[in-house]
Amino acid sequence: MAPDDQISDQEKVRIASDFIRHAPPGEFNEVFTDVRVLLNNDTLLKEGVAGAFALYNKDQLTPVKLPNSSIPSLVTEHNDIGGGRFFDPRSKQSFKYDHLRKEASDLQAWESDAAVESWRDALESQFTEYTANHYKHGVCAVFGQSRNDSMSLVACIEDHQFQPKNYWNGRWRSQWCATLSGGTGELQGTLRVQVHYYEDGNVQLVCSKNVKHSLTCSNEVETAKEMVRLIEESESEYQLAINENYQTMSDTTFKALRRQLPITRSKVDWEKIISYKIGKEINKAQ
């Protein structure tokens, strides 16, 4: 192929970054290695594609162990403080995050936003209990930010199961944002599920749903309880709806695509098909 038919470096970076960002949960390393070999240009990879690693980890709500805490945190867009550092509101620390090694280091003290901390803390309590109650290996984090006359609270949950030896991986992500102002508020949720099965094939489930609720806020604890109540209701409703869809897809849609057997209830009589057709062809030729 002529050199001028080659795409630009910019296009290569766009493609490589897209591939990285679409890696299924638990398979970032494999996709990274594939892309590295195909791009065949480590300089371009480091300079142009490195940003995609960070975007991927934040989008996946990647759990991260902190060396001095038993409770893990999450890497998200909400706790990104730039320079490759993130903060953990639970342990009041910030850390440097290595996006390739998926490791935290260089822990430093971090000061929370005093104006919103009591609300954030109350929600974190309720939310942590909720997470433990529904997600066997779930990790959650609650972030708070105050503005002039309003407050925003973001609560995230991540749970995953990685079983590459059995050729499958799955991840659940919940992201709930509450904006509180005066005595009212709005609660918005984005729920995402992704499953990848790849033994002799490539089958993926990709689901997402957006939810909205209105809130009344009294005090920190009552508001937190109200939020968690709505969250629990919405997430369970979502999970039930997914299960219902599975039922309909299998009972109705799948069955209508291909029967288990012909309407005769027995397999095709191929000899019959052939003899019938030969007869037709012979007749045609005459």
Partner: protein, 275 residues
């Protein structure tokens, strides 16, 4: 280097969401143009339908009936857009191809009750090879879009006696299901499974090949259909329900502790009442 790159490219296609196969393949070819022909012939894509205006019938497109940018219709045996000297099967093979298309058209009707099928054959040194394609789109009932694509590639090695042949079948079935509803948002369950099977068959006349290929394809599709059912609606569903529990886990722990206590108590009672 190109061999390793091809392996990496195929690995990537097995991991990226199959819902974007066409975009992924197109990007991959842009990124590594040297792999273009290899990728087009080894990566299965959802089948596209074209219309044979002369014969008034639909046919399916794949790399095996492609020559340049044109595709050959199995009904008229001509290329669209027209080609001066596009690859055509030999006369003997074309006669068999006509029979095969007619036979699999009936097979399609019996199992799929709709859809489109196409069979393309090409010569090999000691036999021939072929691809049997079937595409069946759902009618969108219950607000769910579904589609089934079958790609069966078969290699027929004719024994020197001419009385038997060895059939090697590699089949990929793609199944696509998607829905968008208020309760469940957008749900997209799709992808493919690939299997291989081989067996010998007796050949008493040319059309025996169609009987042997037909039986092999039918058995293969029935097996894959069963596996698709298990993986799509069993395995992936179980994985989702393993990520989150609708029932509070504390309740479950309590229930488990309670049943363990009960079992222990019963055992103790039995111990006491034994003479």
């Amino acid at each position: 280097m190109t061999e390793e790159q091809l392996n990496r490219a195929l690995d990537l296609m097995r991991r990226l969401p199959p819902q974007q196969i066409e975009k992924n393949l197109s990007d991959l070819i842009d990124l590594v143009p040297e792999l273009c022909e290899d990728l087009l012939s080894s990566v299965d894509q959802p089948l596209k339908i074209a219309r044979d205006k002369r014969e008034g019938k639909d046919y399916l497109l794949c790399d095996y009936n492609r020559d340049g940018d044109s595709y050959r219709s199995p009904w008229s045996n001509t290329y669209e857009p027209p080609l001066e000297d596009g690859t055509l099967p030999t006369d003997r093979l074309r006669r068999l191809e006509i029979e095969a298309n007619a036979a699999f058209d009936q097979y399609r009707q019996m199992y799929f009750e709709g859809g489109v099928s196409s069979v393309y054959l090409w010569d090999l040194d000691h036999g021939f090879a072929g691809v049997i394609l079937i595409k069946r789109a759902g009618d969108g009932a219950r607000n769910i879009k579904g589609c089934w694509d079958s790609i069966h590639v078969i290699e027929v090695q004719e024994k020197s006696t001419g009385r038997s042949a060895h059939y090697k079948l590699t089949s990929t079935v793609m199944l696509w299901l998607q829905t968008s509803r208020p309760g469940s948002g957008t749900m997209n369950l799709g992808g493919s499974l690939t299997r291989q099977m081989e067996q010998d068959g007796t050949v008493s006349e040319p059309t025996s090949h169609i009987v042997n290929m037909g039986r092999l394809v039918e058995d293969m599709e029935n097996k894959i259909r069963h596996t698709l059912n298990e993986i799509y609606f069993g395995k992936t569903k179980d994985i989702v329900n393993g990520l989150r529990s609708i029932q509070p886990l504390a309740d479950q722990k309590q229930k488990q502790a309670f049943s363990e206590d009960l079992a222990n108590a019963l055992q103790k009672r039995q111990g006491k009442s034994d003479p």
